[in-house]
């Protein structure tokens, strides 16, 4: 009689239930906080235009930086995989320096040291340049890993059929590497969007800076920062979805 009450639970089920309960509780707590809050939307309403402008600026900075990031990463990857020692060493050096220092430091050095020397005054241009110089280093490591993950047998087959080195990259290695680096690349792009929030330190009127100002004027912290979070999600989620969609489209293993 008693035995029939005993339920067998596998370790996998235990883990699945623990994770689900934990996350569920976290979400519930979060929604409770949101619901219990005495909202004062009317305080921030007059500043909606500012927030929208900030969001637009973040979108513009991110989009421009995204393109430049890909170009920089491509160049760094080519440098690191080069047959020549000098470009290899220089690219490596660059990547290590950028990855080993905080973005905030790079923004400050870039804006107060390099930009004046180069006579660039436009904050947007400086912001895009710094952000893509930073993200490019990370992305190049992702690209490099993707290319090195293509098995030796593929290079050999390409050589055997007579493709040149450039053709091997173009027709054999890069198409396969792209598929492999898609998820990590999408993650890097989402990071780039979020990292652009640090550009407030050089006074670029992007989304985070606008939200901080709204908060400073209204003391409506929640009402300033919840739209901020949602605004960033509106930029990062499409990246995530696009990546999933492309992964599915480019898949060749069934």
């Amino acid at each position: 009689m008693l035995l029939s009450w005993r339920v067998r639970v596998s370790p996998r089920q235990t883990i699945a239930w623990t994770v689900s309960l934990g996350l569920g509780a976290t979400f519930c707590f979060f929604f409770w906080v949101l619901l219990a809050h005495p909202w004062r939307w009317e305080a921030v309403a007059p500043y909606a235009g500012n927030l929208l402008a900030g969001w637009g600026m973040t979108l513009a900075v991110s989009a421009a930086a995204l393109l430049m990031t890909v170009a920089i990463a491509g160049a760094l990857t080519a440098g690191q995989l080069s047959a020549f020692a000098v470009p290899r060493a220089l690219s490596r050096f660059y990547v290590e320096i950028v990855r080993g220092t905080p973005l905030l430091t790079q923004i400050l050095i870039g804006f107060y040291l390099l930009a004046p020397v180069l006579k660039i005054e436009n904050r947007f241009v400086v912001g895009v340049a710094i952000l893509s110089a930073f993200a490019g280093a990370y992305l190049s490591e992702i690209f490099r890993g993707g290319i090195l993950s293509i098995p030796k047998s593929q290079w050999e087959a390409a050589r055997a059929i007579g493709l040149t080195g450039a053709q091997t990259y173009r027709y054999v290695v890069i198409p396969q590497a792209v598929r492999r680096v898609l998820p990590a690349t999408a993650g890097q792009f989402a990071n780039l969007v979020k990292d652009s929030s640090l550009l407030y330190v050089i006074g670029l009127g992007e989304f985070t800076m606008q939200a901080r100002e709204v908060n400073a004027h209204t003391y409506a912290t929640f009402e300033s920062y919840v739209p901020l979070a949602l605004g960033y999600l509106a930029l990062t989620l499409p990246i995530s979805f696009a990546s999933r969609w492309m992964e599915e489209r480019f898949r060749y293993e069934h």
Partner: protein, 254 residues
């Protein structure tokens, strides 16, 4: 075919894959088979003959082309490098593990070298590739990717890729050792057909019956040296060397 090896050695780290191999094969011979125990140096010899690698010492000539004279590695841009590259384009190479390009369909796998290496117009390349797939009874599978094909079908696609440009010499490295008996039969069938059509072939194989049936000349390699070579009747019928007798006794036993 005219192949001449004099004192050819190839060393990988501490392993002597080939040590001082001399071999001369000349014209009525069309099909040359390499047999011998695993690790004996068969793949290494085929890779040298295919121009995928060059020897550490010694000299290899195929017809009148010099395929390396103990200058490893070959500097790009030199006459030797150009000669090797031309040699690779002229010949076809089949790998034990097929080494098809997984992101391309069967048709694209075969058409790629035709279009990019042999300069056929895209339409002509596709047409020729399709004809070639048909020849190997793969017409219905042209639009499939490697992951959607059986091992035997993949190896026949690889054979079509190696044959589509009508190679001077076809090099087959253990074409069936990754296949089950039924697929082995279907691939050997196709190779036997090529042999009957007069295609010049050098192959390594563990299928002794097949080697005996199709080869004009058989070479027994063990520990990087040629132990015995001769006509299949004599090598299989009345081997002189104890090592060959022992090997054949072991592999023919089952």
């Amino acid at each position: 075919m005219n192949i001449e090896l004099t004192g050819v050695s190839r060393v990988y780290g501490a392993t002597r894959a080939l040590s001082g191999v001399d071999l001369a094969v000349s014209d009525p011979v069309r099909v040359l088979a390499l047999i011998g125990p695993s690790g004996g140096g068969k793949s290494t010899l085929l890779r040298l003959l295919g121009g995928l690698e060059v020897p550490d010492t010694g000299e290899i000539r195929f017809d009148s082309t010099l395929l390396g004279r103990g200058d490893n590695p070959v500097k790009s841009g030199t006459a030797m490098a150009t000669g090797l590259s031309e040699h690779r384009k002229r010949n076809g190479f089949l790998f034990q593990a097929f080494n098809l390009f997984p992101h391309l369909t069967a048709l694209e796998n075969v058409a790629l070298p035709l279009a990019k290496v042999h300069g056929l117009a895209p339409d002509a390349a596709r047409e020729r590739a399709l004809a070639c797939l048909d020849r190997f009874r793969l017409g219905d599978h042209a639009a499939k990717r490697p992951a959607e094909l059986s091992g035997g079908q993949q190896q026949r696609v690889a054979l079509a890729r190696a044959m589509a440009h009508r190679p001077r010499l076809l090099i087959l490295d253990e074409p069936t050792s990754a296949l089950d008996p039924e697929m082995t039969a279907e691939v050997l069938e196709v190779i036997a057909e090529l042999c009957r059509d007069g295609q010049e072939i050098v192959l390594s194989t563990h299928e002794m019956g097949f080697a005996r049936a199709v080869a004009d000349e058989v070479v027994f390699l063990a520990d990087g040296e040629i132990v015995e070579w001769g006509r299949p009747e004599s090598l299989f019928g009345a081997p002189k060397q104890a090592a060959v007798k022992g090997f054949l006794g072991r592999v023919m036993r089952w």
